[in-house]
Amino acid sequence: MELREFFTEDAIKLDLQGSGKDEILKELIGLLGLDEKSQGILFKMLKRRENLGSTGIGKGIAIPHCRSLVVNRLRVAFGRKTEGVDFKAIDDSPVQYFFLIVAPPLEVSNQYLPVLGKIAGFVKEPDVAGRLAQVQTPKEFLALLEEKAA
């Protein structure tokens, strides 16, 4: 099980437009291709998780995540906001790189926590933030995931 296999190019956006936390979350959710109502419910759940404590883990990275009935399988997305956005991160730094993870309440393959852990491990590697800043296309992002899995 490697991170690369969970991402698709259409769920990668290297120029997020939102300027605030809520806008960013909605934009990330929009990458999943859900219907409007499901997006709304998912947004509420992600907001509730953020209200418990920010998923910004420092060094410009956040991993918003939740489980919800409105998705039927594990879904991930990646977004980049070059100039950063205030996400109330643990280190108070602006966040530029967002990894969204959502899964249904009961997930047959039970990959949610392992994927969450793998993303956390990936982003903590010293050179990753710098590399994420340099990728030009979704394909390059995917290649970076593959490289780090090797």
């Binding site: 419910i41 509420k44 509730r48 418990l52 998923t55 883990i57 489980r67 919800s68 009935l69 409105v70």
Partner: protein, 117 residues
């Protein structure tokens, strides 16, 4: 979507979040995100009670009655199957054009149903 169905979905999602925090996710949430899990659980408990109390009596009573038998009171219908008891639901329900505009229950297990593709 029917507003009460939306509320039921949110309650279920919150209960899932609470369960996960208390069990599987505790270590990750504390070590990666610096979350105070016990505080988070207290917050979620208060929110769950608040949302349950917002349900009208008829729905709340059914919710509680089903909840005594099944931990998951709301389940998805995926490709015509109730994902609570895995029994096929009537075709008319599974393909209803209004989808989630009404509150519906599985005729077999009684759980509230949420239709997704």
């Amino acid at each position: 979507m029917h507003p009460q169905l939306e509320t039921l979905l949110e309650i279920q999602d919150l209960k899932t979040q609470r369960r996960e925090l208390e069990q599987a996710e505790r270590e990750v949430q504390e070590s990666v995100f610096g979350l105070s899990v016990d505080d988070a659980i207290t917050t979620l408990d208060a929110k769950i009670v608040e949302m349950e109390e917002s349900l009208p009596p008829q729905v709340l009573n059914r919710y509680r009655r089903v909840g005594t038998k099944h931990p998951r009171v709301v389940v998805p219908v995926i490709r015509g199957t109730c994902y609570g008891c895995f029994v096929q639901v009537p075709t008319a329900l599974a393909s209803d054009a209004d989808r989630n505009e009404e509150i519906r229950s599985c005729q077999n297990c009684g759980r509230f149903l949420y239709l997704i593709d």
